[in-house]
Symmetry: C3
Subunit: 182 residues, 3 copies
Amino acid sequence: MQTDLSKYSIGDYRAGPKFKVLTWYLVNYFIFFSSIPFPSKFKVMLLRFFGAKVGVGVIIKPLVRIKNPWRLIVGNHCWIGEEVWIDNIEQVVIGNHVCLSQGAILLTGNHDYTKSNFPPKYDQVKIEDGVWICAKAIVCPGVVCKSHSILTVNSVATKDMEEMKIYSGNPAIFVRNREING
Amino acid sequence: MQTDLSKYSIGDYRAGPKFKVLTWYLVNYFIFFSSIPFPSKFKVMLLRFFGAKVGVGVIIKPLVRIKNPWRLIVGNHCWIGEEVWIDNIEQVVIGNHVCLSQGAILLTGNHDYTKSNFPPKYDQVKIEDGVWICAKAIVCPGVVCKSHSILTVNSVATKDMEEMKIYSGNPAIFVRNREING
Amino acid sequence: MQTDLSKYSIGDYRAGPKFKVLTWYLVNYFIFFSSIPFPSKFKVMLLRFFGAKVGVGVIIKPLVRIKNPWRLIVGNHCWIGEEVWIDNIEQVVIGNHVCLSQGAILLTGNHDYTKSNFPPKYDQVKIEDGVWICAKAIVCPGVVCKSHSILTVNSVATKDMEEMKIYSGNPAIFVRNREING
């Protein structure tokens, strides 16, 4: 059998009410994705207004993209680096003291490539406390990055990352333990 | 011997007539590469006007870059995702029902690094029917992605990909077969 | 112990005088990072004005980001490709006849993830004569890319690259020698 994208359908999925989706589109691309360094507090306020739960002390750099703030939970004292892309078609939950470095991507959308009509598959991403997603690293749909794990530069997490462990490569594999001793 | 970029020359290569190249530059960067979600039909019309052959049902997301539309052939029901970069200095041929996910890159330009003057080398890219180039994956010059092959997230195809096979990593290697059964 | 980003401090580090940093921010994002193809000579002049040492025959494509020009040295006849990101919190030294292809990234900032307050660590990057950093490749903090070495597409250099050797993958490993014979 062959792929037939003309038969593709998103089924029952709806990002949200049309007006909300459209308004957020504009805010996302003309404020968050802008080069202008709007204050983090202003951006956090906007995220909350659109339904995100965001803690205190969160820093959001320029050129960030967030798909659906109403599917986003961010804890306290997190950093969202320049050019980070949170492609949260599905829920993304970020704990406390998380660092998403520049260009990091969180993916929640996938396709069932075993079906001719290539149906979408969505899956949550969970980033627990103290995790560091390094520059240009990518977390795939369904992955849980457990407490204080690290994904190195440009690596791709396709499976859960265990607590206090460091992962590297594409697909990322365990390379060593993390220790915090001071 | 050493590299001497002051002796670099593109030789006989010409992208196209100067006026056409300049006009397309503006269309590319201010319409295709824009955050504004211009309708796909409008963008397809522009591509055709500049010499691309594009089929029906093609969807083109925002922030796309296409180097030379007059060196582009796209079949029916293809998707060109957000931030896709078709760097087609040379010909790029895309079949039917192809999905290029967000941030995918098709490269056609290279350099002969065994020569002191670092001369350019161009080579076509061919993406056959039903192929899926996943998010942030890169297809290198000269590569043929055969029917229904898949290149996983952030992977780099440096060699041809065989029919119905899935490739992953940098450089991408065969990881498993694809089956389509419904 | 756990990460506590609320205790983070950049210590004594200062990018530069506030007015200079702010002015460069604007120049960087609205001229260098722009889609408009400002002439390379104009951009080189701006870099020098802000304290960079830049040689002759340097080509700078659109959509480039440079963090601190006063921490940048570039030799003669270098190419800085489209969307290159020189994130030089610390010094970056680029030799002569160097090619940074599209989307290449030079990183100088890191964090000490063994400390609870996640302190910043900065380290220089040195790119010697004739080096080619291919498209989307990333050079990590502290790395020296020795004379005429090559980092392939989307690869990540985490260690020094030896003269006339080619490195590939994430992390990049030696794959073959480079020869220049004409």
